[in-house]
């Protein structure tokens, strides 16, 4: 009798194995560790933002908005970002003009026209690999090809082709594969029923694309393009090779053409060269330049996300 009481009844055994053991240490520690990893990544982001804003405070509180509106200078008390911001905006405009039509065109060909053969697969693999080429290698492309090209067409200016046009061409080549990939994704998300309905009423392929596929994919294409342009806006390394000024230069009373073909710089390049300057003044000024860069980029990102949420459709 006594031994029977010590062994648990079958009912108990079954109940225990159905309910399972209680949550053990590992069941709580595992997700907690995962969450910790995620929060640690976000903590780095928060630290970066707080650190940069605190450092930038000196420059902004002392000089106000003259940090943004003054021209470049080697003197930390008067140096400003105006030329860099304008240079970056102009570069981004060149990139948009070149990379957007070519990238969207290439994506339309690959998604809508291209037959599934070896050539198409080769182009696709090639584009994915181009997207992974380090940005400084594009700088070499710019230095050897685009700078010479710009000089050859007579737009070299006083800087032997190392100007905004060469910089814009370089960055356009850099972001082109990303524009193609994001546009192709947006086109793929359009259901084929839309296309078939168009073909069914006798539209040609181009008419279907022009009036049905592209309008439906437009929010995705635009969002992707804005994000890609933001990437070009923050790119530094290739511009160092195609002559973005790391020192200072004066535009004086130069006209529009001279500004386009003359010396130029970009906001990230200025951040890089200021970070190399000695002295606490320049350290704070660098942080101020980073704040300007991040504010511009976050505005672009926010615009892209709002665009996506506003026009996004569910099928």
């Amino acid at each position: 009798m006594a031994t029977r009481a010590a062994t648990p009844s079958t009912t108990d055994l079954v109940r225990q194995s159905i309910q399972g053991r209680r949550l053990g240490f590992g069941d709580i520690a595992f997700p907690a560790a995962l969450l910790l990893a995620l929060l640690l990544a976000l903590l780095f982001l928060a630290t970066l933002l707080v650190d940069v804003f605190v450092r930038a405070w000196d420059a902004f509180s002392g000089r106000g908005f003259s940090v943004v509106t003054s021209p470049l200078s080697l003197n930390a008390d008067t140096a400003g970002l105006w030329q860099s911001i304008m240079g970056s905006l102009a570069l981004t405009a060149v990139v948009a003009i070149l990379a957007f039509p070519i990238g969207v065109g290439a994506a339309i060909y690959l998604e809508e026209y291209a037959p599934d053969n070896r050539f198409t697969r080769f182009i696709n693999t090639n584009i994915r690999n181009l997207a992974g080429v380090p940005s400084i290698v594009y700088g070499i492309l710019g230095f050897t090809i685009f700078v010479r090209f710009v000089r050859a067409v007579g737009a070299g200016g006083g800087v032997y082709g190392k100007n905004l046009l060469a910089g814009g061409l370089t960055l356009a080549a850099l972001v082109l594969p990303i524009v193609i990939i994001t546009t192709a994704e947006a086109l793929r998300a359009v259901p084929s029923a839309i296309r078939e309905a168009g073909f069914g009423v006798g539209a040609t392929r181009w008419e279907v694309i022009r009036y049905h596929v592209v309008p439906y994919a437009a929010p995705g294409i635009l969002t992707g393009t804005v994000l890609t342009l933001a990437r070009a806006f923050g790119e530094t390394a290739p511009l160092l090779l195609v002559g973005a000024a790391t020192g200072f230069f004066s535009v004086g009373t130069a006209g529009f053409v001279d500004r386009v073909v003359g010396p130029y710089t970009a906001l990230p390049v200025t951040i890089f060269s200021w970070a190399r300057q000695p002295g606490a003044d320049f350290r704070s000024l660098t942080a101020a330049a980073i704040v300007v860069l991040l504010v511009l980029l976050l505005t672009a990102n926010a615009a892209a996300i709002i665009l996506r949420n506003r026009f996004e459709r569910k099928w």
């Binding site: 995962l34 990893a37 995620l38 060909y109 693999t125 080549a173 082109l176 790119e235």
Partner: protein
Amino acid sequence: MTTEAPTIDLSGSRPRLRRERRVRRLFLGAAVTSILISLLIVGSLAGEAWSFLSKVDLSSLWDMGWFPRRDMFDIKTVVTGTLLISLIAMVVATPLGLGAAIYLSEYARPRARRWLKPVLEVLAGIPSVVLGYFALTWISPNIVMRLSPHAGVFSMAAAGIGVGILVTPLVASVSEDAMRAVPHALREASYGLGAKKATTVTRVVFPAAASGIVASLILGLSRAIGETMVVAMAAGAVGGSLFQLNVFEPGQTMTAAMTALAIGSDQVAGSNNAFQSLFFLGLLLFLMTLALNLISDRFVRKVREKY
């Protein structure tokens, strides 16, 4: 006598067809541009790299260090520097990126996901020059100098941690995609057998997404090897470096050496040996990242074939 069936032309209107062909050719041209860019990249690298190799004394490629101005082009110095920094970067990015990916894919509630994911995307959008500044002014004094009292302002460790933070969102988003591509039926089957959540995640979802996760790590490594600005700003050794294995010392990577040559901190320009070493390094970098990208591409395709 015989009534002929009226022949109807169904080929469509000529102008529309002509336009169709024109548009198609135009788009094909756009697609071919990408091949042209690849060819130009390879051409611009190979030509100058070859003329560098044919001019320079080949023994200078295996020397005491990387000092282009003194005709010392030691490959092992810059490759070791690159690999050390990339290794540190992956030590940081692998746990953070994979942890974030598993959490977002398997544990996060939809509402938490909705704001955690965009924040991670913001981190992905931070330009590398900003992380370079952060590595130099924050990571170096607050992390690296605490780990080693001998570390200076510039060190490979600071650059490596900076690159790791830069690569984390990439690893996270690619591996999260891979895990979300695992069909729900697999998870449900695992629960049906009585497995717990943690068991399901580690024994079912993780192995099923393994090739995608490997792809994300290779892609991260490739990105770390090609990263330029963080290394150029935080790793130091701008003028050149002796062969260096201590990560708390300044070190030279392929990309940082290229930047130094490009901005002329070595006082070199024109078509001398030192400047042409830039193209040689570029070719080396291009081939290394290309190989890694091709491997990762193969892994990604495996995931797509499976599900």
